[in-house]
């Protein structure tokens, strides 16, 4: 009875919660909030954009700086071909020298200094042009020829399997057209004819 009186009359709240219960609940809540915060941080970090360098083909003037300024011995910039824009021309102004002796694959007729463009006969008078990326040095001669006198289907892009993603891209620093820009790593290419990365 005395025990019962003590329990009823010694200032205990009527809710039936002891101080220890409140403390225990508080600790649990704090831990849960911390876990939630941690999970949120991890999720946000997973979603955070990584940024990579890329060439905006509509700004590029194919000055040959990409071939010479990349820190890699062979530039990470390569020619890319947007086939839907290509005219499949016999006289391809990206493939041929301005004054070719003949429209054939003779080295003296080719514009590319490394012979990195493969000309493939499709049907008279159409030819397809493919880029040998291992040979391409990203000089942009073909890009200039194609864009100035053709449809502009050839353009330069930084290949991300080669690019070492320098904090300060040496090509970007020296680009006279400010054509080297940062793009999100989820959409690392700016291909002509496709919507730009957002």
């Amino acid at each position: 009875m005395a025990e019962m009186q003590r329990s009823m009359g010694d200032g205990q709240p009527e809710t039936g919660l002891s101080r220890r219960d409140i403390l225990r609940g508080g600790v649990r809540g704090t831990l849960l909030a911390g876990l939630g915060y941690l999970a949120g941080i991890l999720t946000m970090r997973g979603r955070k954009h990584e940024w990579v360098w890329q060439i905006d083909p509509y700004k590029c003037i194919a000055c040959d700086g990409c071939a010479k300024n990349c820190v890699l011995e062979v530039s990470a910039v390569k020619c890319v071909h947007t086939y839907p824009m290509c005219g499949y021309c016999d006289l391809c102004t990206g493939f041929f020298d301005p004054q070719p002796n003949a429209l054939n694959t003779g080295a003296e007729n080719q514009l590319c200094p490394t012979g990195a463009i493969v000309r493939e006969f499709i049907e008279d008078p159409y030819f397809a042009y493919h880029i040998e990326k291992d040979i391409c040095i990203g000089c942009g001669k073909c890009v200039k020829g194609c864009t100035a006198f053709g449809n502009g289907s050839l353009h330069l892009q930084i290949e991300h399997d080669r690019c070492v993603d320098c904090n300060e891209c040496r090509i970007a620093v020296r680009c006279p057209a400010d054509a080297v820009v940062r793009v999100p790593s989820e959409r690392p290419y700016l291909i002509k004819g496709k919507p730009p990365a957002t």
């Binding site: 021309c89 391809c92 008078p125 864009t147 100035a148 006198f149």
Partner: protein, 369 residues
């Protein structure tokens, strides 16, 4: 006896000599010269702004030289120019009465021979080409159909049936009997009744008839009716102009691909052309924007205007050569032989006449000016 370091022993005299000293001095000089050379090369690289030992301009492609024209070949001079007032002018035509019609945006604008504005007609869609019909009306080509507009009142008189979903009309020419409508989308030239009803096609690829078909890397396919009655059609991907009988037989062709002045440069030229009263051709090229004259048989005669005369060329020479496929001069010739060139980037019409000093095929060319 052991000689001191740096000196050798003369076995006969037993004296030491200093033969090693000149060698050391020579080596030191060589090292000095080499170091001086390295410093000079580095300083030169620094002065020239070179990033290293890679040659300057090794991969550069100088297109400016291709835009040069020998002044001796230029037969014409600009006599006048006027603003079209259109944001995107697309096509030009001159009527037998001397009315200059320019289409673009969503309008047809008419000017007199001096460039004074006569009228403007609003159109329901973006026009792509214009020509004078045999009855004095103006035929305006849209993506898929043709509309007939009456000169003077500038109201729409008729709308032709669509030539198909894939149609992309880029040029029109009329003879007294037929109207020829060039369709770059379907790579044919339609031969239509004056009422607009299609009666056949010209230029469709047909190996049995020896017709190679039109090659159109860009949407340019110009057509004109020559004084000899044959229909001249530009086949830009093959760099030539072809002549067809109205029924569709391919009669002849001329033209060759080259960036040299006497041929057609780039992927696909001539992009447009017109006929002078004597049947000579005035051709327009894009990429290297230049306007030239060929005689009725296709022999190069001379240059009307070189690349520097047009906005596309001026941009290219200023370093922005990216307009290549976006240009495309159009041309018309009036009854007096004046050559009217529509520069779509500058949005102006430039009027060229023969220079007084220019002689053409041995006769005084001022007669045409």
């Amino acid at each position: 006896m052991t000689p001191p370091p740096g000196r050798s022993l003369d076995r006969r005299s037993g004296r030491t000599s200093g033969r090693g000293a000149p060698v050391v001095a020579a080596l030191a000089c060589l090292a000095g010269v080499t170091a001086l050379g390295i410093v000079l090369v580095l300083r030169r690289d620094g002065i020239l702004g070179r990033g290293g030992n890679r040659p300057v301009g090794e991969f550069s492609y100088d297109v400016a030289a291709l835009f040069e024209v020998d002044p001796a070949l230029v037969l014409c001079e600009e006599a006048a120019r006027f603003d079209t007032g259109l944001r995107e002018p697309r096509g030009i035509a001159v009527s037998r009465a001397g009315i200059v019609a320019v289409v673009g945006d969503e309008a047809l604008r008419a000017f007199d021979g001096t460039g004074a504005s006569l009228a403007e007609a609003s159109l329901a869609a973006a026009p792509r080409c214009v020509a004078e019909g045999s009855d004095g009306t103006f035929l305006v080509g849209f993506k898929g159909h043709v509309e007939v507009h009456t000169a003077g009142t500038w109201t729409r008189a008729a709308v032709w049936e669509s030539l198909g979903e894939k149609a992309f009309l880029v040029s029109i020419a009329a003879s007294p009997r037929w109207v020829y409508v060039a369709d770059a989308g379907q790579r044919v030239v339609w031969r239509c009744e004056p009422s607009g009803k299609p009666a056949g096609t010209l230029g469709k690829k047909d190996d049995a008839s020896g017709i190679p078909g039109f090659v159109l890397p860009s949407p340019h396919l110009d057509v004109a009716v020559a004084p000899d009655g044959l229909v001249r059609i530009a086949n830009p991907g093959r760099h030539r102009i072809e002549a067809y009988a109205p029924e569709g037989h391919l009669e002849l062709s001329w033209g060759k691909p080259t960036s040299a002045i006497e041929g057609f440069a780039g992927c696909c030229n001539p992009c447009n052309f017109a006929l002078l009263p004597d049947g000579s051709f005035v051709t327009c090229e894009k990429g290297i924007p230049r306007v030239k004259i060929y005689d009725p048989r296709g022999a190069f005669v001379g240059v009307v205007a070189g690349a520097k005369e047009f906005a596309e060329g001026q941009l290219a020479l200023a370093g922005d050569w990216r307009q290549g496929s976006g240009g495309g001069l159009d041309v018309a010739v009036d009854a007096a032989g004046r050559i009217l060139v529509l520069d779509p980037i500058a949005r102006v019409v430039k009027v060229f006449v023969r220079k007084r000093s220019a002689r053409l095929d041995g006769r005084d060319a001022t007669l045409d000016g």
